[in-house]
Symmetry: C2
């Protein structure tokens, strides 16, 4: 393989999805490492915790009680980062004053949901067999669908289900009072990722503005499509990676999961739908099952890697809730996993000084990381609780 | 003040230096916080640590001994992220193949230095009175100057000093074998920022490529200059902020230091030279003294805020070592401080899920943060060791 030289020299790799670069220093993996080898961690949490505000039947911060749910449960975040109701903001600065150039702001409305993945307090996605992850995917799809612009071409794709779909058992998904632009579905897992409650759950933040990252990606996806006569970047990418294999962690007929060529975090994984799917509503039953499998395979390998409950932030990028036909058509469903661990359950990679001021930097290459994750499939290292 | 409404609604602010947005949720500061109040931390380190690889006279990882230096000391990083000597990389992929579009890389050479700020193991910049910070600034200036492209307009600005300047006592700053494009000067302080050695020190990474962040800033600085008939964005910005005062933490005649309108980290501070200075070589003696004062005032207030040794990453952005006349002329010397703490010595802000997938988010506003930092000037809370 002619690219093998990249294993030994410092180089930069280009991320075509963001138009940005990452510095790779594979020779640094030869640094001496005197760190301890840690023993495998065990799951010591109870299946039900009376003080957890996410467990079924328990009381939440603002006094509401959770229903006795048996699968997923969705509610509006009690301390949301965006609000649905607020006064409008209009800047009072004179046009072309220094203020108008340099102190720019815009009001943003929105709504934040919390979604539990299971009633069991002591599970994680890694503990859950693929079929039990399916309801999570179905709930994400319902929330996404119920926030779609009625005129979006995606509404038709959402199929014969009545629109808007019914909310999962006991959940509160009201119709928004205003059309939101984007829905960010994500999960922060582990205290290293700022998550304070181990009960398996994710978040969904929906805003009137199109946030930075999906906006940057949409621009690059659209440009690729124009430059390459309608080709979809991530369809091309999944095909290329599936053929090459060296960055593949796991794949099935619908999804490729691997360490992307341009990954920043040591064990970063991207899950890409092999054919062009714009959003959750484009996935049929088989594809949802394949997605559950790929999430299960990825999170289980993560936990097996350092025999610990592996922290990460995970998020779904897909079509905006409302947008131009072009924006919706060039969107390509994918999932990012950004985990901070580098060498063991306690040794993490810091994206600090140089990374903040200049450019993200990594030591272990995506090819080395993918090989390690490929090689630690199979059973979960700890006793499954489910 | 008509903008007071921004204290109560969720909104986005625009960063004109990067062309990016940040989501601000001031109403979230009303969240209940049950965290402990922590006692003030004390400095318990010795002034000399025989096992520290940065203390004077001690042995380093690769076997070299540090000189018995008495101020700053510079050496080439024993485990550098970039190397000066390596084979060239040329991709072998066919032009317009999927590989050439999606698996792009380029070789990067460079050199990494470590610079100690003081021979005393138990000091930090916050402990050091401004006059003792001056040698650090002088050493940064020497290293920057000795790596300048001989044909850069900045060489003339470096004044009557012989070129290249002499290295500080005992330090190793060879002439690079190749012209580097950019020099990133930075400091990671504290274990929260991945810094494993408390001995006061910073790093300097120099590369043949122009890294992401300075590249993005240069583009925005250049555009502003074109759109506003030669005006310099950060000169305009320092003037505006100095007049407004509400985001000011400290200023003297040469520099404005404050919480920028678009800051991401809760107590992020930017230090901007009030008049247009392209790089360290443009600063005269008085301006260097003013810079030492502003660094001292900023780091001392940081430590006073939560009565702890405040972690941060700090970095200098300035003109590239070589570049077009336009690039060098639109550069504007400034310093970023990115500290992770939010509420106390142990409660930090996590830039995780939503921030990684969608957009940076903050709760406390820059105006609230600036007021708190303004109000905690004066003596260092703990006994000064110097
Ligand atoms: O070079 P150090 O101090 O070992 O390492 C630290 O700073 C580097 C530059 O910001 C980062 O890449 C590392 O992740 C961090 O741990
Ligand atoms: O909403 P949570 O779980 O309290 O908070 C966590 O996730 C948010 C969204 O990624 C971040 O803004 C917070 O910094 C983090 O601690």
């Amino acid at each position: 393989m002619p690219d093998a030289i990249l294993d030994d020299i410092s180089h930069r790799r280009f991320n075509p999805l963001r138009g940005s670069w990452v510095l790779v220093s594979p020779h640094r993996t030869k640094r001496p490492w005197q760190g301890q080898q840690e023993g495998a961690s065990e799951n010591v949490l109870p299946a039900y915790d009376p003080s957890c505000y996410l467990c079924p039947g328990n009381k939440r911060a603002q006094g509401d009680y959770n229903p006795k749910y048996d699968s997923t449960f969705v509610f509006v975040n009690d301390f949301a980062a965006v609000k649905e109701q607020q006064v409008d903001y209009e800047s009072t600065s004179q046009s072309d004053s220094l203020e108008s150039r340099l102190l720019r702001a815009e009001g943003t409305k929105g709504k934040c949901y919390v979604i539990t993945f299971s009633p069991e307090h002591n599970l994680t996605l890694a503990d859950m067999p693929a079929p039990t992850i399916l309801p999570v995917i179905e709930t994400w799809t319902k929330i996404y669908t119920s926030h779609l612009d009625l005129f979006s071409p995606l509404v038709k794709a959402s199929g014969p289900t009545t629109y808007p779909p019914s909310a999962p058992n006991g959940s509160i998904i009201d119709q928004p009072t205003e059309q939101f632009r984007y829905m960010q579905i994500f999960e922060n897992k582990g205290t290293a990722m700022g998550c304070s409650n181990p009960h398996p759950h994710g978040q969904i933040w929906t805003t009137t503005s199109l946030p930075e990252e999906p906006c940057i990606e949409l621009q690059h996806l659209a440009r690729y499509r124009h430059e390459h006569t309608g080709a979809h970047m991530l369809e091309d990418y999944a095909k290329l990676e599936s053929e090459k294999g060296e960055r593949t962690v796991f794949e099935n007929s619908s999804f490729w999961a691997g360490c992307p060529w341009w990954g920043t975090w040591p064990f970063e994984v991207m899950v890409v739908s092999k054919s062009h799917k714009r959003a959750l509503v484009d996935l049929d039953q088989k594809e949802k099952e394949d997605m559950a499998e790929v999430i299960s395979e990825t999170t289980r390998r993560y936990d097996n890697l350092f025999e610990t409950s592996f922290p990460y932030s995970m998020g779904i990028h897909q079509a905006p809730l409302t947008g131009t036909d072009e924006e919706i058509e060039c969107s390509h469903f994918h999932i990012h996993f950004y985990p901070p661990l580098l060498r063991s359950a306690t040794v993490r990679k810091f994206l600090v000084g140089y990374e903040m001021m200049a450019e993200p930097q990594r030591d272990i290459t995506p090819e080395q990381a993918a090989k390690r994750l490929r090689d630690c499939g199979g059973e979960l290292y700890r006793k499954r609780l489910n």
